[in-house]
Every structure is written in structure tokens, then in C-alpha cells.
């Protein structure tokens, strides 16, 4: 499965765990790599992906069948774009139900796309069970736990085994304290080249931000490569 046809779903049944931040970073990462990107936003309220990156984001619905068609048909469409889904906590259950009923992952795989789920891990039981549920409900998806280091210690990571070839734990490094306020005002793009000037971001903050970005981009790139490699290996074996 090539880079050009990846689908990454950022998910958690919890709110305020950093899903939208991860989706923003992913979208900007792919743009930074020079790929066309379409992001799908399944959130409501303030500070959504659609507000941060309006140009690249489609506000999506999962409640009715028209919304489901607009979302899933578009996700598997062969339009050459990399797809990101910011799966809001309220839409989590419906998304997984619909995806498993309509055979979304199987169909995507048939079309040469390996959908990956980045699951933001937290120690609570709801999340652990939702994660375990994904194993059985979307068995063919690449399931990668994402550790948001801003959420604290990682003692619970054993409860989140990876699943699918190429899956690995992805780390979102903690952002230096005090930097958060610079990136929390939508609209905002990390790949904006005029970041330093346009946003009144002091130079030292800018350097620190770039350093942080490089770390997370490295994590994303590694995950992409692992999935690609796993796929190449399986096709060689055939």
C-alpha cells in the first residue's frame, strides 16, 4: 500500500485526549511531505480540525446514510489523496459500527489501501475496552496505539497491544510548557512557512516548535514506512 493511498483514523472514545491535535499534525505532516491530503472531521463544538485547517478539512456526519456515503465513499475513492479522519469521541461508536457492517477495511484493502487506526491511549477502562473491541470489530485494520506524553505516565501501555502488520506504538512528545498557547488559536497550520512572522511567535518558541514537530514527524514517517514495508513483505511472500 503506497503512501498515496493511506487512510489514518485518529480515534478514542474519550474527549480532550489530543485527537484533534494529532489529526492536525498528521494533516500537516502529509502536506509537508508534498502529498495531497483530505481530512474528515467528525467533531462538533469548538477547536475542531475544520476550524484549524479549513482548506483541507471536510466536516463529516455519521448519523444518517447520506453522511455515511459522503464519508466512506470518499475515503475509499481512488483520487490519489491521503485521508485523515479525526474521529470525535461522540462519533466513535457509530463509526466503528458502520465501518464493520459495511466491510470498510476489507474493501479498502481490496483497493490497495491499508487503513490505520491511531488510538490515543488512556488508562481508563472504557478506552481499554474500546480498543479491544476494535481488534475484533475491524480485524484487518492496522491498529497502532498513540501515547500522548502530555497526558502523563505510560504505565498503561501494556493494555494496548499493537495489531496488524506494521503497527507500532506512536509517541506524541510533550510540548514544552508555555508553547501550547501559540498553537491553539484556529486557524493554524504547522506547515505555514511564515509561521514566525505571521503569528508573532518569538524565535526561540519557533525553534522549539520546529524541534517538537520534527520529532513527531519522525514518528509518523516511521509508522508509514513500517506499514509500507510490512505490505511489501507480504506481497513478496506471495
Amino acid at each position: 500500500m503506497s503512501f498515496r493511498h493511506s487512510i489514518t483514523i485518529v480515534a478514542s472514545p474519550r474527549q480532550r485526549v489530543g485527537k484533534t491535535l494529532v489529526a492536525r499534525l498528521l494533516t500537516d505532516f502529509h502536506r509537508h511531505e508534498g502529498r495531497p491530503v483530505t481530512a474528515f472531521d467528525l467533531n462538533s463544538g469548538e477547536g475542531t480540525l475544520a476550524q484549524f485547517l479549513p482548506e483541507y478539512t471536510k466536516v463529516s456526519e455519521i448519523g444518517d446514510i447520506k453522511g455515511q456515503m459522503a464519508l466512506f465513499d470518499r475515503l475509499i475513492a481512488d483520487d490519489g489523496a491521503t485521508k485523515i479522519v479525526d474521529l470525535g469521541h461522540q462519533a466513535f461508536e457509530s463509526f466503528v459500527t458502520v465501518a464493520s457492517q459495511i466491510g470498510f477495511v476489507t474493501e479498502a484493502r481490496r483497493r490497495g489501501i491499508a487503513p490505520a487506526i491511531l488510538f490515543v491511549i488512556t488508562p481508563d477502562r472504557t478506552s481499554v475496552e474500546a480498543y479491544r473491541g476494535l481488534h475484533s470489530r475491524l480485524p484487518q485494520a492496522v491498529l497502532s496505539p498513540l501515547l500522548n506524553e502530555m497526558l502523563g505516565s505510560a504505565q498503561h501501555r501494556d493494555k494496548y497491544p499493537t495489531k496488524g502488520s506494521g503497527a507500532a506504538l506512536v509517541r506524541l512528545p510533550a510540548l514544552a510548557p508555555g508553547l501550547r498557547r501559540y498553537i491553539d488559536q484556529p486557524p493554524f497550520s504547522f506547515s505555514d512557512t511564515r509561521l514566525a512572522n505571521a503569528r508573532d511567535i518569538p524565535l526561540d518558541v519557533h525553534i522549539e516548535l520546529q524541534r517538537w514537530l520534527r520529532k513527531i514527524y519522525l514518528e509518523f514517517r516511521e509508522l508509514d514506512l513500517r506499514i509500507l514495508l510490512a505490505d511489501l513483505q507480504s506481497s513478496i511472500r506471495l
Binding site: 446514510i65 457492517q101 466491510g103 470498510f104
Partner: protein, 252 residues
């Protein structure tokens, strides 16, 4: 050579989804490589024929020439299974006709496998018809089909009343057809293709179609559930029992 099987799909009322059930049956037998033919009694223009034109013939079961067309060919036809979609309100009279021509006797003697799919409608009349048809079908496999596809409201029947009628037919089994999303349902109607073709994204001529993946997914999921019901009642064993030689001999 397995004996021929006749499956009658009927209801006393229109609009309860007889043809839907007949279509899922044709798809089901197709998936099990069981040659099947169908007769559509909605003369002159049949709905079933629209979806399965290759295997369907439109007939009028009340006419003798058409009865001959169906029943005199049972042994000689290539298709082992014959599905008859009986027009609304004709179930009892069709069974009466079958009784008159001695078909039910052949079924009784075991020369023919005979099954009735009685699609239940929302009114109490359809329950009374169970009583009416019960006297004909002593030896048939009788399936009472609750069709939820278009979400009618009759499933709040009083269970006591229902059981009273249900028990009049010995060995009757219940089949539940789950609901299919309206829009998915409508798209299949518009495409005029069998469900399996819709799922495979093909048009009536077998060329690639452009159906929504979400709708196809819903139809596949739904059809899978319907077939699971047919599997549960061992429908394929009923109409096409395995040859003796296929059964692995147990080492004694």
C-alpha cells in the same frame, strides 16, 4: 439424482415483501450453485422478472396451461429448485389448485420436496390465513417469514394470539428478515439487479456499476443476515440434500 423441490412464496396481502424474499432465495441458491428457476405470478408484468430476468417466467397460476408449464416440467427441467412467487391473496387458492392436481399428494409421498414461505403482513388477516393454509400443507416445510425490510409495525402482535395460529402448523419455523436501510433498498430497486450483483457493483448486463460503497456494504451485511437465517433453518439441505457419496464414511 435429487428430487425436484418447489418453494412457494406467498402472502395474503400485497406490500409485505414477497418478491424481496423470493429474490433473496434466488440469490441464496445461486450462491450455493443450486440451479434454480422462478415463476412470477404477477401476470402480465412481474416484479421478480425485472430483477432476475434470466431465470424467471411470468405465469398465471390459475390457468391450466401455466400450471402445466410449471408442474409438468418439474422432473425434466434442469433447475432442481423451482421458486414460485405467488401474487398477493392467491396463496390459499394456489394451494387449493396444487391439491386438486395431486401435487400435494406427490409431496406427501416424498417424490417432491415442497416448502412454503408464508410472508406475514401487518394485519390480523394474515394470521387467519395461516389457519386457512394450514389444512393444505401437512407435509410441507412451512416457514413463517417476518419481513422487517420495510419496517412494518406488526411485530407488536400479541404473542398469545400469534402462538395460537403459529402452533396450528406442525413443524413450522420462523424466519426473520431484518431491516434494510431505505436508501440502500431504493438504490437496489432502481438498479433492477439481483442483490448479489448490487453488492458486486455490477449492472444488469454484468458490467461494472457505480453504486455507493456504503450502500453496497449495507446490502451485503443485510443479505448476509438473511442468508444466515436460511442457513439456520437448513434450507439448502432441504432442497438439495447431499449425495450419499459426499458424506464421509465414518470408520467403524
Amino acid at each position: 439424482m435429487a428430487k425436484p423441490a418447489v418453494i412457494i412464496v406467498g402472502a395474503d396481502k400485497g406490500g409485505v415483501g414477497k418478491t424481496t424474499v423470493a429474490r433473496t432465495l434466488l440469490d441464496y441458491f445461486g450462491a450455493h450453485q443450486t440451479p434454480t428457476r422462478a415463476f412470477d405470478t404477477e401476470a402480465p408484468r412481474g416484479t421478480l422478472k425485472r430483477f432476475h430476468p434470466d431465470v424467471t417466467e411470468v405465469v398465471d397460476v390459475t390457468l391450466i396451461p401455466d400450471q402445466m408449464k410449471i408442474f409438468d416440467t418439474l422432473g425434466s427441467a434442469q433447475a432442481k429448485v423451482t421458486v414460485i412467487d405467488v401474487r398477493a391473496g392467491l396463496l390459499s387458492s394456489t394451494l387449493q389448485a396444487l391439491s386438486d392436481i395431486g401435487f400435494l399428494d406427490s409431496a406427501k409421498k416424498g417424490q417432491i420436496t415442497f416448502a412454503v414461505f408464508h410472508i406475514l403482513g401487518p394485519s390480523i388477516a394474515s394470521l387467519q390465513e395461516i389457519a386457512e393454509t394450514a389444512r393444505f400443507v401437512g407435509d410441507a416445510s412451512y416457514f413463517l417469514v417476518k419481513n422487517h425490510i420495510n419496517e412494518t409495525s406488526f411485530f407488536e402482535w400479541d404473542p398469545a394470539t400469534y402462538n395460537h395460529y403459529f402452533k396450528q402448523i406442525k413443524g413450522a419455523e420462523e424466519i426473520t428478515i431484518p431491516k434494510l436501510n431505505e436508501m440502500a433498498c431504493e438504490q437496489v430497486e432502481l438498479s433492477s439487479v439481483p442483490y448479489v450483483s448490487f453488492v458486486a457493483n455490477k449492472n444488469a448486463k454484468g458490467a461494472p456499476a457505480n453504486n455507493s460503497f456504503v450502500l453496497r456494504g449495507y446490502v451485503r451485511h443485510w443479505l448476509g443476515n438473511v442468508w444466515a437465517e436460511y442457513d439456520r433453518v437448513k434450507l439448502i439441505d432441504l432442497v438439495a440434500p447431499k449425495m450419499e457419496s459426499d458424506i464421509p464414511q465414518a470408520a467403524s
